[in-house]
Symmetry: C4
Subunit: 313 residues, 4 copies
Amino acid sequence: MNSSNPPASERRRRTQRPDGPSRRATLYDIIFEADTPAGWWFDIGLLVAILLSVAIVAIETVPEFGYDTPYEAYFWGIELFLTFLFTVEYILRLACVRSPMRYAFSFWGIIDLLSILPTFATVFVGSGKMHSFAMLRSVRLLRVFRVLKLWRMMNDADELSDAIWKARNKIVVFLAVIMVAITISGTLMYYIENVLPNIVHDVRFGGLKPDDQPERPESRFTSIPQSMYWATVTMTTVGYGDITPQTGTGKLLSTILILLGYSLIIVPSGFVTAELTSRGASEHEAPCHRCEAGSQRVDAVYCYRCGHRLEHE
Amino acid sequence: MNSSNPPASERRRRTQRPDGPSRRATLYDIIFEADTPAGWWFDIGLLVAILLSVAIVAIETVPEFGYDTPYEAYFWGIELFLTFLFTVEYILRLACVRSPMRYAFSFWGIIDLLSILPTFATVFVGSGKMHSFAMLRSVRLLRVFRVLKLWRMMNDADELSDAIWKARNKIVVFLAVIMVAITISGTLMYYIENVLPNIVHDVRFGGLKPDDQPERPESRFTSIPQSMYWATVTMTTVGYGDITPQTGTGKLLSTILILLGYSLIIVPSGFVTAELTSRGASEHEAPCHRCEAGSQRVDAVYCYRCGHRLEHE
Amino acid sequence: MNSSNPPASERRRRTQRPDGPSRRATLYDIIFEADTPAGWWFDIGLLVAILLSVAIVAIETVPEFGYDTPYEAYFWGIELFLTFLFTVEYILRLACVRSPMRYAFSFWGIIDLLSILPTFATVFVGSGKMHSFAMLRSVRLLRVFRVLKLWRMMNDADELSDAIWKARNKIVVFLAVIMVAITISGTLMYYIENVLPNIVHDVRFGGLKPDDQPERPESRFTSIPQSMYWATVTMTTVGYGDITPQTGTGKLLSTILILLGYSLIIVPSGFVTAELTSRGASEHEAPCHRCEAGSQRVDAVYCYRCGHRLEHE
Amino acid sequence: MNSSNPPASERRRRTQRPDGPSRRATLYDIIFEADTPAGWWFDIGLLVAILLSVAIVAIETVPEFGYDTPYEAYFWGIELFLTFLFTVEYILRLACVRSPMRYAFSFWGIIDLLSILPTFATVFVGSGKMHSFAMLRSVRLLRVFRVLKLWRMMNDADELSDAIWKARNKIVVFLAVIMVAITISGTLMYYIENVLPNIVHDVRFGGLKPDDQPERPESRFTSIPQSMYWATVTMTTVGYGDITPQTGTGKLLSTILILLGYSLIIVPSGFVTAELTSRGASEHEAPCHRCEAGSQRVDAVYCYRCGHRLEHE
């Protein structure tokens, strides 16, 4: 991680932290950073509040604890209190940055706003109509996106998102290959499980009147999109089993598809691993000043090639 | 990627691009290349047309949108229009290459032809009989293979297919090992779930008349091919669950098979990853200035091919 | 593994092995170490006893062999005998270490005690009431934790736990990412499979009396926690199939989620592999003769720690 | 692959190939080696014969093609012919090696014998009783083990089995860790899905007469071995779905188990990949004679470090 490409948190600090030792700068350090005790406790409190509010959204949908039960009032109370806290947090964030407008329209500013709006919507539109229209209830579900605020706390996630970002071209190619494979194998399975038996049926009984014809054979591969859903579920080895081949030919083809798909799908894993391995190998480099040999060990004192004493900055 | 083994697109350009700045050469650049604005827009248009036509093939098979519904005419209209576009594209491709015959019988020439033929077949054989014979409808499904034309657009796919190609021997060995494992474990499970209970049955009730014998125990492992289908689905961790062991011994054996199979199946992933890692480790270095050999070691001082002293910037 | 960070077994030996050649020191070597013949046989005997006792706990729960069958007495007899052996082992361990209190409250001391307590509890509280209260039976199940004693025997497990330990931050970040993904995709699926059809229902039939309204559509995504359970089962490619999307939109979304999830979930595998690969690359070299620093580069000429010229054989 | 540890085929040639240019030596080269045209065609013929005989064993178990159908005689005829060929092959192998006894008791000698014995057993014991006793039919299934003869043809399998062999300690540790995890999670799930509801039941209704007590809640986790089967199927991400948690607590625990198990199970994949990556990195080494720099490229002409011209043998 060289200095010409600082992490996002560093870039934000440079442009948004108020200059000098003021009250706003202190507030900024508490709210946006985690390297002071107050900032650390603020983060812990925020983490608990987010998890609690997400848990409430989830539990409210369980029939035993949800709407029209005695628990509803308690959950609603906690929810209002948490929304109050998140509103205060949002206002404080706007108050302590150099450019509130810029923050409000940044990714985190929008996430922060979205995490309080659904509760206000429910409050102001009125809970009286809430029971007759499921639409408003579903707005409440949006509160679950508060979980996105957790991302801010994951410092190590930089490396993860960095690796995914570097492998993005390969992941896109991989997804395209998988989609071509899914489309073709889905169509083939639709043909084998559905069209082929129908052709046999038409050839044998096509001359009879519709009423005299026996029932057409049934299949779970009712359409190509359905078959593509099956192909996705199969090639990624999820394998729900809600749609499975019934004919012998279909089983044979799906056996071949599974093996081919398995051989194919291990490749992108390899790409990402290779990317990460080469990162790991090259992230400790500090070349020797005398012989310019790179790839020195992190804890090296002397150059492995010429024995020169390494000077670490 | 050294100069003695250029990518397929480069080889095609050398043999098929018309010489000099002519109208045909400009057309060639638009249709076959993507490095001019016009060529880029042509590719985007082709991409949209392919995805649209594949989507139509898929959606037509959904009963709510398919044949004998009001939507049929719209889809058929779009389909005819797209086929017209693909026909024009095919003719232009033939017109702008140096050797049309060579293109027509190349892989992409055949794919391009196959992507328009099914529609013409449906048009000329007549849609009157189309409703009584499912055979012709299924010819329409072939249009889904137009998705293969997408491959042309994936420049990064070279590396993917390269990695798979280099690992082909290992993948074949892996598939052979898996097939031996599938055959043996499928036979064992057939024996345990089917033959073994039948032997017990014969020993206990074999002396009685057929009518006095109790029902034979049933099993979903009805034959060895069926058991091999189960073994494939299990060892690749797809696990549909349409066939599962019923007896205790069968469950014990399948537990052992799953663990052994899992230990076995992680090996080829490792092969591909190792292949890609060694590629990745050697792909970042600047080529030699004298002989232009790439893939130098990171810490190389002299070129491995011509012995020239490398100059790192 | 440099000398400043010895493995746990080495650290325990330094602090707990009695000094000099005494009877207690010999006993310590037999019980805690495996590098003498007697110590090796002790380990084998312990291994057999642990596996046998765990197998009995498991088999006792099978209705054909369990409680209220003729086998119960045999199993209980073996169990009492094994508990006697483990009790003797526990007392000997306490007797031969330098500080019995320290051992008793160490991780292994607690495991050793927990592996004998449940049997004593069953014996002393009395088996008379054991048949009427399942509570006591379930205490017996705790004996299965004796399997944890196996860990002591796995010397190679050091490397495994070391790799997991080094990758702990990445695994935590990965689990957090997965949890965010599970929460959001679970909520989305709950909305699509459950709320969306209900909104359509309310809009179309909301004006009618409750009795005149048709049945609401049913879904297996009965709540957000249920949907999150589905999302976990799906994103990890387990795919039970007990909960599957029924609507077309749900199938489309779950197809997208599966592919995105698959792209996401291959990343942590890469992290661990990269960690292990960088370990593996540096573990084959001979240590420096002067300072005994290991993990030299394959092509090192000078020791990275002391600058001594390495002599390769 | 240095000369001090030759592959198995090389070792066999040294000890078993007859000396000098005799008829037996020529026969040996045809039967055991694949580097002469005759030897290559012999291998192809053997491959076809093995696959055909294995396919017949499998197809015979399909009710439509199996015993008591018109096809039986054809299959039996092919089977007798193939057994005749394998018998001739076995006799020729014994005839052309230096020490027939040593071959007969080697791994391949036993496999060769086992691949003809089942057919002879069926012929000599008599097919009259074959229909009444399934026991003899199942002996026929043993013929499927002929598939093991395929292994002989996989030259690249050396590397695969080598990698598995080198990673054997880690695979054993991994299997032990998985087994400990399976035992503990299986027991926990048995407790949560089965014992816990029963305890609640006993506490609430234990005072009533047996007839007045409501039905005990049912669970698919009927015993600990059954739960361990579930845990295996779940942790390896096979996920049949024949046994799934029914209670909320069970679903919560299995969600946690799946995530923990997934974090755990990616580690051994990493081990094998790391092993293979380090193999790949070191298998091309041919150190420079002047500066002794190793890890040269396979196609290197000059040393990357000192520019010395490399001399390949």
